[in-house]
């Protein structure tokens, strides 16, 4: 179980004449994801989704607040051990273009402390699931967008993490590739893995997520299951719910 408690991340924004002002990209968000559930994060561009997910993945230190990882009842204190139990994917986690997918997976497996035979079995398994057989030995720089995204996902899978953190995993993919990824997330959920992911596609979130968290300007503007969100706003469509909540939030700021 991955818990973010009162997470705040402040950045400096460049303004005119090179001056900088501070602002909170993530402003006091608490969030958790347990095994066997998919949590969707919805938000406009610049709402703070990526920053939030980066902090949860442990690659960015929160300005305040903390990230806690519970393995059963014990809390994992060591940051590196925690990273070993999380699979993080975003548009910014590029792959080493001069390596082949197999070499990349091998390297990552070793870093996670797996032995040679274990890595070999796991690669075969993943290659099967993500249908990577035809390009697994090609250099990554030669792959198509969809193939690269599958290679990226395979990178997060190799060490069988307990929690997946995906930042817009279906962005820019065709229907076939994105539905393969959606199916994959559902399968992992059935296996008891936790998934937290951000997206712009409302229909996808509606279909996939057990809980939805909507954020705007670094704060949570609405959260709950789809049912709960429908009941609280009186709207049926997630797209409408999202628009309603964002405009409410903006009204709030105007006063």
């Amino acid at each position: 179980m991955l818990i973010g408690e009162n997470l705040v991340k402040s950045f400096e924004r460049n303004e005119k004449r090179g001056k900088k002002t501070e602002f909170n990209a993530v402003d006091n968000i608490s969030i958790e994801v347990s095994q066997g559930e998919i949590v969707g994060i919805l938000g406009a561009n610049g709402a703070g989704k990526t920053t939030l997910l980066r902090m949860l993945a442990g690659i960015m230190k929160p300005t305040s607040g903390q990230v806690i990882f519970r393995d059963g009842d014990t809390r994992v204190e060591n940051e590196l051990v925690m990273k070993g139990k999380i699979g993080y994917l975003s548009g910014n986690t590029k792959l080493y273009g001069r390596l082949s997918t197999r070499e990349l997976l091998d390297m990552i497996g070793r870093i996670h402390g797996m032995d040679t035979s274990e890595i070999g079995e796991r690669i075969a398994e993943i290659s099967d699931v993500l249908n990577m057989g035809e390009f697994i030995d090609n250099r990554i720089e030669k792959l198509s967008t969809g193939q690269t995204q599958r290679a990226s996902i395979s990178r997060c899978l190799i060490h069988s993490p307990q929690i997946y953190i995906f930042d817009e995993p279906t962005l820019g993919l065709d229907i076939l590739s994105s539905s393969a990824i959606i199916e994959f997330m559902l399968k992992e959920k059935e296996k008891g893995k936790g998934v937290i992911y951000s997206t712009h596609y409302m229909e996808e979130a509606e279909y996939l997520c057990d809980r939805i968290i909507m954020i705007g300007k670094g704060r949570i503007i609405g959260s709950g299951t789809l049912e709960e969100l429908r009941n609280s706003t009186g709207l049926s469509n997630l797209r409408e719910i999202f628009r309603e909540l964002v405009s409410q939030e903006e009204d709030l700021y105007e006063f």
């Binding site: 999380i86 975003s90 390596l99």
Partner: protein, 676 residues
């Protein structure tokens, strides 16, 4: 550090770097193709030029009424390689300017002497060569006339013209002559080619990784900063070492080729026994490997600070200049390899290779240079993994990190400098002290020491002001209770005694360098006592205190716990003195002063302590006899056990007393604050 992780990261880096064409080209093509090509081309061109010059016909104009014998003279030179063509022209000066002729010869006769007047153009190659040949011809003409006159007078021309006969005999072996020539050239070429070889992989693994966006992927893995840096360093080092070996092979090949060419021209005369160079080559290779480690570490450190390829390239330019400058030291005839020059990076390798080629072997020097290079490399890598903050690097996080390279308007005000900045300032200051300070000392002697002190205080002050930190707070510029000064005096008195014991022990282990230092100091100082007090005691007491107890301790206290900040600052202070045997003593004294500075929150007691310590050593230097009478221990070569025990006792007691006094002030303060 988990070495399995380092190993798999290393493997990845190697694959990544080697699959990049640019690296391979730099590594393979430059040494294996470019070198020989350049050498052979330049040889061919040079032979071509010499041939074309020596087989030339020079066109000259005789601009006077000649009875025929001058023309005869130039037509019938005995030379085969060149000849003169006598040309007649209307306007000789114009023809010369138009390069139609190479020289004009005019002749007048004064009092029976023939005066030749040669007009030529030194800016035109052919004209200037023609003039040389004319001179040669006229000289032999003059000689033949002289011989005639002497013979007419009944003298032996040989005895009269050359009453003193000199013969030279060169006892240098051919190998030594060749070595001294190579010694000027090879070190410089090696150093530069190594730098070129490591530059590209250094940029690729650091700034390149940032630019390709794979560093964030790396961050998602359970990899620590030091593992990441270590694996990258190993990869760059491997490339560096490989390109070093390839460079050596290429140079050897080209050298052998050139040698064969020269040998075939001058048959039998200049035979070199190549076997004699084998030990030099073996040891040299070892040193080059050590140097490859050093230069890889340095270029990686520089590149890691950059955010993009372009920025990394910009940073490497000054590095190249510094390396070039340092390797020029190898050309200066009077600079030789000694314990102190062995500590100067780059220059030490150049000097050692030069010495090796002159067949001067000293195991101690070889070991020292090897050690120094590897140690510097390791230290730089360690420092890098300290200041390298991947999160700040990727996300451009404004808090902490290196602020010195930021635009000033983007830097936030703060109390003390960041530790990253402090490390950088320490490195920059150390480099400047070594190079600029060292040069100043060579040139201006004792006043050069003042330059060093200005550097030591100037860089941190500038850095603090630039990064908008609180100067008063960082440098602890404020007064304090008189009791801190009294306590400080006791602490330093005890510290000096303990220091004597420590340095005696260190002197037993590291024998030579202690003597070196004090002798060279005595040479620099000269014989003015007040001057020595000002330069050796007063200036460091002010400047070094501001740097180490002000800037360094201030920055370290901002991040570390009090005790750790004191230890780190003390070690830096010890390292700064650049002597293995002095390290422990200076670190001890530095640590004690740090303690007083932390407690008093003022720079002043430390300055007094530093002054007392340095002034004492000046007094001992100038009045050794008097000092020996007062402090019996200075007389003895070695300390007896009883002396050690007494000094240890007194030393501890003084330090304890000083600490007690200082603590009493702090307690008073606390009580006073409570009352308020």
């Amino acid at each position: 550090m988990n070495f399995k992780i380092v190993k798999s990261l290393y493997k990845k880096e190697m694959l990544d770097v080697l699959r990049d064409k640019k690296t391979v080209i730099m590594m393979l093509v430059v040494p294996l193709v470019l070198y020989p090509l350049v050498m052979i081309c330049s040889l061919t061109i040079m032979t071509g030029i010499t041939n074309s010059i020596s087989s030339s016909t020079y066109r000259i104009c005789l601009d006077f009424e000649d009875d025929g014998h001058v023309e005869e003279l130039f037509k019938n030179t005995d030379e085969v390689s060149y000849s003169f063509e006598i040309v007649t022209c209307e306007n000789p000066d114009k023809s010369l300017a138009d390069e139609e002729i190479d020289a004009i010869i005019r002749k007048t006769v004064e009092n029976g002497r023939e005066c030749f007047d040669i007009t030529y153009m030194s800016s035109i190659n052919n004209s200037s060569y023609a003039t040389d040949m004319i001179q040669k011809t006229l000289k032999s003409y003059s000689h033949s006339l002289t011989v005639g006159i002497l013979e007419e007078a009944g003298l032996n021309p040989e005895d009269t013209l050359a009453p003193v006969d000199v013969h030279y005999r060169d006892v240098s072996t051919n190998e030594e002559t060749a070595g001294s020539l190579l010694g000027m050239l090879i070190p410089f070429m090696l150093v530069m080619s190594l730098l070129m070889g490591t530059m590209y992989p250094a940029i690729d693994t650091t700034a390149g990784e940032k630019e390709r966006g794979t560093l964030e992927t790396m961050l998602t893995l359970p990899v620590s900063n030091s593992e990441l840096i270590m694996s990258k360093f190993l990869a760059v080092g491997t490339i560096g070492v490989t390109s070093a070996i390839l460079n050596l092979i290429a140079m050897g090949g080209v050298g052998a080729y050139m040698y064969n060419m020269v040998a075939s021209v001058r048959e039998g005369t200049g035979r070199l026994n190549m076997a004699k160079f084998v030990p030099a080559i073996c040891v040299g290779t070892l040193c080059i490997l050590a140097f490859a480690i050093f230069i890889s570490a340095i270029s990686m450190c520089v590149c890691a600070l950059a955010r993009s390829y372009k920025e990394a390239n910009n940073y490497l330019t000054p590095l190249t200049l510094i390396v070039m400058f340092a390797s020029f030291l190898g050309f200066i005839p009077n600079v030789t390899l000694s314990t102190s020059t062995a500590l100067i990076p780059v220059a030490n390798v150049c000097l050692l290779v030069r010495d090796l080629l002159l067949f001067k072997y000293s195991i101690r020097m070889i070991a020292l240079v090897l050690f120094v290079n590897v140690a510097y490399g390791m230290i730089s890598v360690m420092l890098l993994s300290k200041i390298y903050n991947s999160e700040a690097v990727i996300f451009g996080d404004g808090s902490g990190g290196i602020q010195i390279f930021e635009r000033r308007s983007n830097i936030k005000k703060g109390m003390v400098p960041t530790t990253q900045d402090a490390w950088l300032v320490i490195i920059i200051t150390a480099m400047l002290v070594i190079y600029a300070g060292g040069a100043a000392q060579l040139k201006y002697g004792i006043y050069g020491l003042l330059v060093t002190q200005f550097i030591v205080v100037g860089i941190p002050v500038i850095a603090t002001i630039y990064t908008k930190k609180d100067v008063k707070h960082t440098f602890k510029l404020k007064g304090c209770s008189l009791k801190f000064f009294i306590g400080g005096i006791f602490v330093i008195a005890g510290g000096i005694m303990l220091g004597i014991i420590v340095s005696a022990i260190a002197g037993l282990i590291f024998k030579d360098s202690a003597m070196d230092a004090s002798e060279s100091m005595a040479q620099i100082v000269g014989d003015s006592f007040p001057l020595a007090i000002i330069i050796i005691a007063l200036a460091p007491a002010i400047c070094e205190e501001l740097m180490f107890r002000g800037y360094v301790l201030g920055a370290m206290s901002g991040k570390y716990k009090q005790k750790n900040a004191i230890i780190v600052s003390a070690v830096i202070f010890g390292v700064y003195h650049m002597s293995v045997s002095k390290f422990f003593t200076t670190a001890l004294i530095g640590g004690l002063i740090c303690y007083v500075a932390v407690k008093s929150q003022s720079i002043l007691p430390g300055m007094l302590m530093h002054f007392v310590n340095n002034a004492l050593s000046v007094v001992i230097m100038f009045y050794p006899d008097e000092a020996a009478r007062i402090f019996l221990v200075f007389e003895k070569e070695r300390l007896a056990v009883s002396d050690v025990m007494i000094m240890l006792g007194f030393g501890m007691a003084f330090v304890a007393l000083g600490v007690y006094i200082i603590k009493s002030v702090t307690k008073e303060k606390i009580i006073n604050n409570r009352d308020l």
